[in-house]
Amino acid sequence: MSIDTATAAKVAKLARIQVDEDQLPALAEEFSAILGFIEQLNEVDVDGVEPMVSVTPMRLKRREDVVTDGNQAEAVLANAPDAREGFFAVPKVVE
């Protein structure tokens, strides 16, 4: 599978990464190389093999329905570039 510059630009946009136009061809080429490498896996016959989702034979850890966290608004907001009256303040976003 080959990635063209338009696709590379779209992926960059979806990931909110700013990429200059002249860098796109190189990026697209790297993408294609990565996908090409991964595509080798398609050569393996996995018919009837259940997909492996984890290397550890573990069950998903669960929690009881008890409130054990929160009440730390200051800590939550500590890294915010702008916080007012207990809220994160961000540039206006309205549909």
């Binding site: 779209k10 979806l14 909110r16 989702v53 984890s54 573990m58 069950r59 998903l60 850890k61 669960r62 929690r63 009881e64 329905d65 008890v66 409130v67 054990t68 966290d69 929160g70 009440n71 730390q72 608004a73 800590a75 939550v76 907001l77 702008d82 007012r84 009256e85 207990g86 809220f87 994160f88 303040a89 961000v90 540039p91 206006k92 976003v93 309205v94 549909e95």
Partner: protein, 503 residues
């Protein structure tokens, strides 16, 4: 087994300039799961807390924080699935839905795209006129809610509160089986009712605990039936999705408005474009959410932070065994065993609290009388005072007491209304009130006979007339009732008056 036989309601049709069109509607209902803590963190789900106070570092998307699933959220989803007669998947998995928005600090929503916990089910949606439609459920999956943005606190900034971030939602996805605005409202009402009974979602639409995305398309009469026969969506029109509505009224308006917009386009020779739209109730129109379209590529992939969710059949069976009686079953039992009308049974089962109240009244008294007293007298009185059942000053035992007094013949139906008013305003035990205030019905035939004799003696002219016209006996009965302050047993009075006049 339920014996529910219904006619199918007619689909809503809208007459365009060229032809009549039918509506086809599918819904994605987002129901907040009723739990103490969030889906993947130990922060509280409490509504209305101080901004950002119910936030764990997991919810805030802090680096290195890992989600740990709340077992009760899983149980609630299973309960809801069982309540919708749906298939429960013992193995499900979580995926990441990637998009950027200020109220989504992780940069993705953890959801279940590929392997939802609940599969196909169904909901019986009654329309109140003897018709009902079975709406097929495609799936229910668990996912995280996003935070809340507030846009009106500052002219240039939006304020973000993450208290709702990470709260568990069930997304209940229907098939396109809903055929009109009223059916859409009835469908949500029914889902909410079932979840009230199950205790899995409080259904508070105002707080946003129940929201719906509505898919609307139009088709020519007959096309929908072809879709149902073949399963081929090609028979249906292109759909538009109206996002995020939390008012029954607006949902109905939006469906109608959107259908008319599509009809105008199609009749004009145009094509409906599949897109996400927003309903503006002030303008009474839907409009395209272009920003959402651009970001529509969510690049889903399995969430690497979470192993698949595996549950045991035994655990599901335990939940199934502890399920409460559901609205459909309760309603048909009220009708079959207690002799209630369809209407009364519907009113009483609308909310689990009213059904429980009614059952306490009916227990040991009489189903029909209990239904009349609860619906007409209690609900009517509460409505007059703008009170809810939870604020009722009258207990089920007090109403049962009044009914018992009527059945024993201690009070007439008319006096019973007075007793009810006393109980409602002053409280107290009905039997004691009747005793202490001398409201007991006179069933002593001697006393009634004396009253009848007196009236006959005082009104010889009327007696003569009554001998010619037996209908005038009613006048004597009225006089006796008046003389005894309404306390005489009407049946006894009728009999004695008839006998005396015949003498």
């Amino acid at each position: 087994m339920l014996d529910l036989t219904f006619d199918t309601p007619k689909p809503k049709t809208i007459q365009g300039a060229k032809q009549a069109w039918e509506l086809v509607i599918g819904m994605e209902v987002h129901a907040q799961v009723a739990t103490q803590a969030k889906l993947f963190s130990g922060a509280s789900t409490q509504f209305g807390a101080e901004p950002n106070s119910n936030v764990a570092f997991v919810d805030a998307g802090m680096p290195g924080m890992l989600p740990v699933i709340n077992e009760e959220c899983v149980a609630q989803a299973v309960r809801t699935g069982l309540g919708l007669k749906a298939e429960i998947h013992l193995k499900s998995a979580f995926d990441r839905k990637n998009y950027f928005y200020p109220d989504l600090p992780q940069g993705y929503q953890i959801s279940q795209l590929y392997h939802p916990i609940v599969g196909e089910g169904e909901v019986l949606v009654e329309m109140g006129d003897g018709t009902a439609r079975v709406v097929r459920i495609e799936r229910i999956h668990l996912e995280q809610d996003a935070g809340k943005s507030i846009h009106d606190m500052d002219p240039h900034m939006s304020f973000v509160d993450l208290n709702r971030t990470g709260v568990a939602l069930m997304e209940i996805v229907s098939r396109p089986d809903i055929r009109g605005p009223e059916e859409a409202a009835a469908y949500i009402t029914k889902l909410r009712q079932i979840m009230w009974y199950l205790g899995t979602c409080d259904g508070n639409m105002q707080n946003g605990n129940l929201r719906a995305d509505v898919n609307v398309s139009i088709c020519s009469p007959g096309a929908y039936e072809k879709y149902r026969e073949t399963g081929d969506f090609g028979h249906l029109g292109t759909r538009c999705e109206i996002k995020n509505m939390n008012s029954m009224r607006f949902i109905q308006q939006a469906i109608e408005v959107e259908a008319r917009r599509q009809i105008a386009i199609v009749e004009d020779g145009g094509e409906v474009v599949q897109e996400t739209r927003l309903y503006d109730p002030d303008k009474g129109e839907t409009r395209s959410m272009r920003s959402k379209e651009e970001a529509h590529d969510y690049r889903y992939f399995p969430c690497p932070d979470l192993l698949p969710l595996e549950i045991e059949q035994g655990w599901v069976d335990d939940i199934a065994g502890a399920l409460p009686e559901l609205p459909d079953e309760k309603k048909s039992r009220f009708m079959a065993d207690l002799g209630l009308s369809d209407y009364d049974a519907s009113v009483l089962t609308a909310e689990p609290e009213s059904a429980a109240f009614f059952e306490q009244v009916a227990d040991g008294t009489d189903g029909k009388m209990a239904a009349n007293w609860v619906i007409n007298d209690l609900f009517g009185r509460l409505k007059k005072d703008d009170k809810s059942l939870a604020d009722s000053p009258v207990t089920p035992a007090q109403i049962a007491g009044i009914i018992t007094l009527i059945k024993k013949g201690d009070i007439s139906g008319k006096i019973a209304k007075d007793v009810f008013e006393i109980v409602y305003t002053e409280g107290g035990d009905p039997a004691q009130i009747v005793e202490e205030r001398g409201m007991k019905q006179v069933t002593d035939t001697g006393a009634i006979e004396a009253a009848v004799d007196q009236i006959i003696a005082d009104n010889p002219a009327q007696v003569e007339k009554a001998k010619v016209n037996p209908k005038l006996a009613g006048w004597f009965v009225g006089q006796v009732m008046k003389a005894t302050g309404g306390k005489a047993n009407p049946k006894a009075v009728n009999e004695i008056v008839a006998k005396k006049l015949a003498d």
